[in-house]
């Protein structure tokens, strides 16, 4: 992988792993409206829970958020990498 692209990947890791720790914890637009209009309570639980609210279970504070961010960045990159290879490979064989 091109080294300038690696710089951008590291930037993504830093944004998800470090900068996100300083993110606003206020409700987002939809959550806020759900609270104001009184339908926030209609939200149900998840069928399963891996890393809810971008935290890794069993890890506390900064590192829980950082680890969740790093995992998310790597997983998202990985999915697109695999899907991208499949799409381009399939086309090249036709």
């Amino acid at each position: 992988m091109n080294r300038y692209l690696i710089i951008l990947f590291i930037a993504a890791l830093l944004i998800a792993g470090v900068l996100s720790w300083f993110a606003s914890s206020s409700p987002d637009g939809l959550e806020r409206i759900a609270e104001d209009l009184g339908f926030a309570g209609k939200a149900g639980g998840s069928a399963f829970s891996l890393m809810p609210d971008y935290t890794v279970p069993g890890v506390k504070g900064f590192w829980s958020n950082a680890l969740a961010g790093i995992i998310g960045v790597c997983a998202t990159f990985g999915v697109i990498y695999v899907v991208g290879k499949v799409i381009t490979h399939r086309r090249n064989r036709m």
């Binding site: 091109n2 300038y4 692209l5 710089i7 951008l8 990947f9 930037a11 993504a12 890791l13 944004i15 998800a16 900068l19 996100s20 300083f22 993110a23 606003s24 914890s25 206020s26 409700p27 987002d28 637009g29 939809l30 806020r32 409206i33 104001d36 209009l37 339908f39 209609k42 939200a43 149900g44 639980g45 998840s46 069928a47 829970s49 891996l50 890393m51 809810p52 609210d53 971008y54 961010g69 995992i71 998310g72 960045v73 790597c74 997983a75 998202t76 990159f77 990985g78 999915v79 697109i80 990498y81 899907v83 991208g84 290879k85 799409i87 381009t88 490979h89 399939r90 086309r91 090249n92």
Partner: protein
């Protein structure tokens, strides 16, 4: 704007899931025509970057926060169809790994943020390209703003069709809040485009974006 579990009725989320699955399938077919194997790492890094940026909520007026959606950013770099794939991957990972957005609402969330968002951004950007040869910040900001407003509009419609909130209240409320969040979307998108261009100009190579 990720719809949590329980907000949508099956009569709304089931058709949304079908429409999204068909649209993403079509996008997978179409994006193969515009990209080749050496573009794949760029798409992956863009997806990772958008996922990361979505974790950073910034404060908006009145105790509300917003974060980047990223549809206009992905469209600016790669054009419509690869952007749909990138945004879909981000929304699916958020739902599966981090319980951000309900599994029942996954089709609707994908439709709003990964299909309609990029579609609107691409329409605004292509109008901009026709009117001026240089891709100016004004067009990127407009594309960002309209992409967020389109997603907010659809989200409000889905909520009201589900009987979760009345249309005449939830629609203006969603549009008002996201009119402000959309401005942040525009600013962050321009900053991200300039940053990426300064680090790696080929991220925005026209070979892909001209193809959409």
């Amino acid at each position: 704007m990720h719809i949590p579990p329980g907000f949508l009725t099956p009569a709304v989320w089931a058709p949304m899931a079908g429409v999204s699955a068909a649209s993403v399938g079509y996008a997978l077919k179409r994006s193969g025509a515009g990209i080749d194997e050496r573009h794949v790492p760029r798409l992956g890094v863009m997806a990772a970057f958008i996922f990361a940026a979505q974790m950073v909520n910034f404060p908006v007026a009145g105790g509300t926060s917003g974060h980047l959606m990223g549809a206009a950013l992905a469209v600016t770099a790669f054009g419509l169809w690869p952007a749909v794939i990138i945004m879909t991957a981000v929304v699916i990972m958020q739902a599966l790994l981090f319980q951000d957005g309900g599994l029942d609402a996954l089709g609707a969330n994908v439709f709003n943020m990964a299909i309609a968002g990029p579609l609107v951004a691409a329409s605004v950007l292509s109008a901009g390209r026709r009117l001026s040869h240089r891709l100016s910040s004004v067009w990127i900001v407009s594309a960002s703003w309209f992409s967020v407003m389109a997603a907010a509009f659809l989200c409000a419609v889905q909520l009201s069709l589900s009987g979760t909130a009345p249309m005449n209240i939830v629609l203006p409320a969603m549009l008002a809040v996201h009119a402000v969040i959309g401005l942040f979307e525009g600013i962050v998108t321009v900053v991200a485009v300039r940053f990426m261009m300064s680090v790696y100009p080929r991220m925005f190579s026209t070979s892909i974006s001209e193809n959409s």
